[in-house]
Amino acid sequence: MRWALILIAAVVALALPFFVYPVLLMSILCFVVFATSFNLLLGYVGLLCFGQAMFLGLSAYVTGYVLKTTGVSLELGILAGALVSAVLGAFVGFVAVRRSGIQFAMITFAFAQFVYFALLRAEFTGGENGMQGIPRSKLFGVIDASDSFSFYYVILAITVLAILFCYRVIHSPFGEILRAIRDKEDRVESLGFRPERFKIMAMTISAFVAGLAGGMKATVFQFATLTDVSWTVSGEVILMTLLGGLGTLSGPMVGAAIVIAMNDELAKFGEWALIAQGVILILVILFFRRGVVGEAGALIRRLRERKAD
């Protein structure tokens, strides 16, 4: 069943650019990775990072800067962005993990605002205008995949690697301790662990993955702007995660796809798109607490049980 689903998803992912505008698909994939990074913290450690956009945006600028000013290959540019975000994640984690709940959220929010203004003021970012003309450099320095159709497959490959990486982290000895911390941190401490060290590591890993998404986004759109660092993006990723289903690997991926596709559809209505988003969030919180994927899973289980009876 599970393998069949993965197989279907693989076939669909490979065939989609023949039917759908590739840039939209790539945009979805960027946010699939971004939402997964956020879910790593909220879904598996119980940390609400209300500044996740700083990792996305910073990496977008760093990737752009590296690709514009040096001749390195595409994957090294994206990796550079992700690593810088990981360092930022470790630093923010070091300061923030001693607090929990709303305090943690507010500290991460404050950091994100700081990063926003630092990037606004910095010379290399282009300030209000953003950073234009980021090249889609050759992959491994040899493969030219700069047209949007072939670039989609590059982005798809990075997405798959990022998701596999997250899967490994979640289903690792480390991931098991994270789940225990989410449940009862005091108890984990009493068993001889240092929970804050695990949380700092989780922040670092999450920032790295968010950074991958930022690098992807910078090369997909070939520019980086302050929007990527803004708090509205930090808020949007919360919507994606809750809409899709918290604490499942596939939930935030589905949520990201729905939100991006919806924004694209509703773009012609301008500000109404935001209102529609708000309404959907309220409906999900009221009626689909487990998110789309969570509710679907529960439905399948119920049907199976009925069959078994």
Binding site: S172, R179, F193
Partner: protein, 254 residues
């Protein structure tokens, strides 16, 4: 001063101040190796604060705490756990989202030192499962390793908690009201289990249920108003006028 290893746990003049209020003041405890020691006292006597000081959940305002003669006053709970003293919690402290087996395995990971490996597959710690099953068998949970901890009955959750604690092979166990909130049918098995796991260990319990205290403990310290009222065997304590007065209604013989 020479280290004194006769005592598993020793408190020298420990106190805890909250604002102007001393919840615990000038408490001395000497708990010999291999004994079961109970802390009792009426509500508000400072039992839980005292317990939290010993486990290093709270930092003492005054005094020293020694574990096997080593000063642990400045250490954190996790560091104390690694030196062989592990606490339980008053409210059940199982990881409810995880299976019974996973609960114990988390604790086993603490000794194993692979816990930071985010790049290893979970199967790399399946070798801990055999030991986890042994521990579950010891507390009578071998039949439900794959059940979610949330689905266990209250009494069996406490048993799982003890199995999790035992996974660290602690020399000193501190149990915070192990029978709190239990019905009669659960109290007896847990009492027996505590007696069983006390072999080769030192145990400190905070307990309301005096019949449990009388069956388990070698010595008892009675607290009142944050200070030690007296210390002795159950017989001595239960016949002491001051203790009876402190409990107002008197201590009924169990």
């Amino acid at each position: 001063m020479a280290e004194n290893r006769d005592y598993a746990l020793e408190a020298r003049g420990i106190g805890k101040q909250f604002g102007a209020f001393w919840a615990v003041k000038d408490v001395d405890l000497k708990i010999p190796q291999g004994s079961i020691h109970a802390l009792i006292g009426p509500n508000g006597a400072g039992k839980t604060t005292c317990f939290n000081l010993l486990t290093k959940t709270l930092q003492p305002s005054t005094g020293q705490i020694l574990l096997n003669g080593e000063d642990i006053s400045a250490l954190r709970t996790s560091e104390v756990a690694r030196r062989g003293m592990v606490r339980s919690f008053q409210i059940s402290a199982t990881f409810t989202d995880m299976t019974v087996l996973e609960n114990v395995r988390v604790a086993l990971q603490s000794k194993h030192g692979h816990a930071y490996r985010f790049w290893s597959p979970i199967s790399s710690i399946y070798n801990l499962d055999a030991r986890a099953m042994e521990l579950l068998a010891d507390v009578g949970l071998a039949d439900v390793p794959h059940l979610k901890a949330a689905e266990l009955s209250y009494g069996r959750k406490r048993a799982l908690e003890i199995a999790t604690t035992l996974a660290l092979d602690p020399k000193v166990m501190l149990l915070d009201e192990p029978t709190a909130g239990m019905g009669h049918e659960d109290i007896e098995p847990i009492t027996q289990l505590i007696r069983k796991v006390s072999a080769g260990r030192t145990i400190v319990i905070v307990e309301h249920n005096l019949s449990v205290v009388s069956t388990l403990s070698d010595r008892i310290t009675v607290l009142q108003g944050g200070q030690v009222l007296m210390e002795g065997t159950y017989g001595e304590v239960s016949s002491d006028e001051r203790v009876i007065a402190a409990y107002m209604g008197g201590v009924e013989d169990a």
